[in-house]
Symmetry: C2
Subunit: 217 residues, 2 copies
């Protein structure tokens, strides 16, 4: 599970490893990009914009990154660091009310995660769906463990006869992941329908709980 942000892999475009000063500059370039992504589309962000914001020259940018998209790859990597915390919420019993509470916590964590990294996560999925290996790996590393646990839980529910055998556990798990990601991505738009964030959490939690356990409570 080698992560792209492992120290040894942080190099200049030349392949050379970076010293402390360079690391700081690279960091500032990434931060500036993340901030610009908050306010406008990737389409409207140029290398010059980023360089200007950091108070450096475009040439410096190109010393560290091939293009702006490559910065988003590393930003996605950085966002993925939060996922272990979500995994902690998954492990444990899914029986009854405890299971439902667990589902609520997961949904809540996902929404917060997306609220914090909206633009970057959206670009990650865009890239991954387009077939970009870098983004596919990052998404798999982040989401895979979650889906694995979901799939395992679904399998158990199937063995207990609570869910039909024709359900493909991993695909069903991916479907739950889809709900989490998609609703997290646009839950704010849903509030225009008179639905609060709590409503989103509650409804989403119920659907996940029901699909993981096959029970109705």
């Amino acid at each position: 599970m080698a992560k792209a942000e492992d120290i040894e892999s942080v190099t200049a475009q030349t392949g050379r490893p970076l010293g402390p000063r360079a690391l700081k500059t690279r960091e500032r370039l990434m931060d500036a990009t993340a901030e610009l992504l908050e306010e406008r589309s990737l389409l409207d962000i140029s290398v010059v914009d980023i360089a200007r914001k950091v108070g450096t020259s475009p040439a410096t940018f190109y010393h560290y990154f091939k293009d702006v998209e490559e910065v988003t790859v590393h930003l996605a990597d950085r966002a993925a660091d939060e996922m272990p915390a979500v995994l902690d919420l998954i492990d444990g019993s899914w029986e009854g009310d405890a299971g439902l509470a667990r589902a609520r916590n997961i949904v809540d964590a996902f929404i917060s995660h997306w609220d914090t990294h909206h633009a970057v996560l959206q670009l990650r999925n865009l890239g991954a769906d387009r077939g970009d290996k870098r983004f596919i790996r990052i998404r798999r590393d982040a989401l895979g463990p979650v889906l694995d646990r979901f799939a395992e839980q679904i399998s158990e529910a199937q063995k207990a006869g609570h869910l039909p055998a024709s359900l493909h556990p991993y695909i069903a798990a991916a479907a739950l992941g889809s709900i989490l990601e998609r609703l997290s991505a646009y839950h704010k738009e849903l509030t225009h329908f008179g639905a609060s964030r709590e409503d989103v959490v509650e409804t989403c939690a119920i659907l996940i709980f029901r699909t993981l356990t096959g029970t109705n409570s």
Copy 2:
């Protein structure tokens, strides 16, 4: 429900309505953009690329569109024209096996729809999630009627006591929409897990059926 592609609204950047020759040129520019979107990211598509592909000059492009993103708006509009066919699949009884078969057809239609317009639909959602009014309207027009029907069906299942009252019908419907969209977007990646397209359709159909009716069959 005024659509952006209504004839009267197809104008040059100056606001002037377009004659037959101009309409054809505009069409070719849109087609060229759609083709380019098949092979590379919007980031890597310049106005010059599109103009060259059509065998015209950049100035001509700017006569019809503000920028490349505006073309994608109209492409998204065009893709939305297919949705009425999906709506036909939704209406009718959701009881028993007929309901499950109905779900299968819907999933199948969605996956085909996304396979055909992948890049454009992805950009539509990207724009809409970012708050762009143009894309929000297009998505709402396309998905709203589907979600409305889902929500209505869920309400009925609640009244019949098959689903918990704490479920917010419209959010649950949006969750189903999320499954449809997200799995349609990356179902090809799932097949690397030994899951066929049929598996995706079947699993997705079961989940939708169960959530719409609250029954287990």
